[in-house]
């Protein structure tokens, strides 16, 4: 059951996430709730989705047991603020952030992790 009222694709199961990161080279997943720290991130993902065709964007409810795949990821150790935002490159975690991020912060992570030069060097 979908829990997040956003215009970004919502992943409901760990299997769906595995499939998404297997089938797409560059994936950003924001795992959160419909709260004040998370909504601004969903909002900017919606904007970025129109500009960044090289990246697949998705959201996942933090409260579903299936989100354990993100909550328990080693990259999220020590995280104490929603949302947990994951950046996957070729199926592996390339970067992760905790708490609210602005457009500039997210865009610079996308550039750093998913840029063409980065792909060539990967």
């Amino acid at each position: 059951m979908k829990m997040l009222h956003t215009n970004v694709q919502e992943i409901e199961t760990a299997a769906e996430l595995e499939k998404l990161i297997t089938e797409n080279d560059n994936v950003m997943v924001c795992c959160g709730r419909m709260g004040p720290m998370c909504i601004p991130v969903y909002d900017l993902m919606e904007e970025l989705e129109e500009e960044r065709e090289d990246v697949k964007f998705a959201v996942m409810s933090f409260d579903t047991p299936e989100a354990g795949i993100i909550r328990n990821d080693e990259a999220c150790r020590g995280f104490m603020g929603l949302p947990f935002t994951m950046y996957y490159k070729k199926g592996k975690v390339a970067h992760a952030t905790s708490s609210i991020q602005n457009m500039q912060q997210v865009a610079s992570i996308l550039d750093a992790q998913f840029s063409v030069s980065n792909v060539e060097n990967a």
Binding site: M37, L44, E47, G81, L82, N102, M103
Partner: protein
């Protein structure tokens, strides 16, 4: 890169005031553009439940903001979000707003409704430990501090109410406040004082956040004595009030000492053709309903200005 279109109205900010101005202006067939730096809805989306918006029995801020956004769009209002405004040129008849990415938009009138944002402490370590021990939202992050010891910074209603709410998770909550009394309603103060998990440190300000990958310690200054002490801590929740988003407007428009935009009853600023509405203006009460009213008046005033 200057946009060729000259809009009738550019609205800066997409909170309740800005969206209302967008609805009214576009419905009046004024070409309208909303430029919004953050998430659409502004402070409204921070509200989990809205039960006092007339005509709506109960809703949440996100839903109300979404409806307002769709209304504005349906009337033809253009909305651009998640951008950064670099400069305003408002004195001329045709006003210009320049974005950081080089785009430039022109209009015959401007409505400023940039809203407000949580006031950061702006002390060393704050950005570094955001999400790693520092939070601005008890509802969002409270459970990460289950069984832990935390500090709540602030003395207003949000600070006191959230401190009580955080005792559901934390084993101990220390409220640190800069004054010797609270600005919160007495009911909120009483509830905090009655809670056995809450302690108070008054007339004290935090000076830095320290730790390794996560927050471990804060240093704080007792203001009357100047004494600096440190305290081991697992988390800090900051509720130090809100500040108007007018830093970029200081050189441009008349502000009061609190950096709020000064307007008259028609929402006119000191510059002809420039209006302001919502949490950014100098006023006493800040509610969704008052922001909506401000946005309505600003839009009608802008329409009158353009026609004249």
């Amino acid at each position: 890169m200057i946009s060729e279109e000259i809009f009738d109205v550019i609205i800066v900010g997409g909170g309740a005031a800005g969206l209302t101005a967008g609805i009214y202006s576009s419905r009046a067939h004024l070409s309208t553009l909303i430029l919004n730096e953050g998430a659409i809805g502004g402070q409204m989306v921070l509200t989990d439940e809205i039960a006092n918006y007339p005509g709506v029995e109960k809703t949440n801020g996100y839903l109300l903001a979404s409806i307002m956004k769709n209304q504005a769009k349906q009337f033809g209002c253009k909305i651009k979000s998640n951008l950064k405004i670099q400069a305003y040129y408002l004195e001329e008849k045709i006003k210009r707003v320049v974005l950081e990415d080089g785009r430039e938009f022109q209009s015959r009138s401007v409505i400023l409704s940039p809203g407000g944002k949580p006031r950061p402490l702006q002390i060393p370590g704050e950005e570094q430990y955001k999400g790693g021990g520092i939070s601005y939202c008890a509802t969002c992050d409270g459970e990460f501090f289950t069984g832990k010891e935390i500090i709540v910074v602030g003395g207003g209603n949000s600070a006191l109410e959230e401190a009580v709410a955080l005792t559901t998770y934390a084993k101990k909550v220390t409220i640190v406040h800069q004054f010797d009394n609270f600005q919160a309603f007495q009911l909120a103060v009483d509830q905090a004082k009655l809670n056995p998990k809450i302690e108070f440190i008054m007339e004290t300000e935090l000076r830095s956040f320290n730790g390794n990958s996560v927050l471990k310690e804060v240093s704080m200054e007792h203001l009357p004595s100047g004494l600096i002490t440190t305290k081991n801590i697992d988390g800090v929740f900051i509720f130090a009030g809100y500040m108007p988003n007018t830093a970029d407007l200081e050189e441009t428009i008349a502000l009061n000492q609190r950096k709020e935009i000064i307007v008259d009853s028609d929402m006119k600023t000191n510059i002809p053709g420039v209006f302001a509405a919502g949490d950014c203006i100098a006023k006493k009460y800040r509610q969704v309903t008052t922001a909506v009213a401000d946005g309505t008046i600003a839009s009608l005033s802008a329409a009158e200005y353009i026609r004249s």
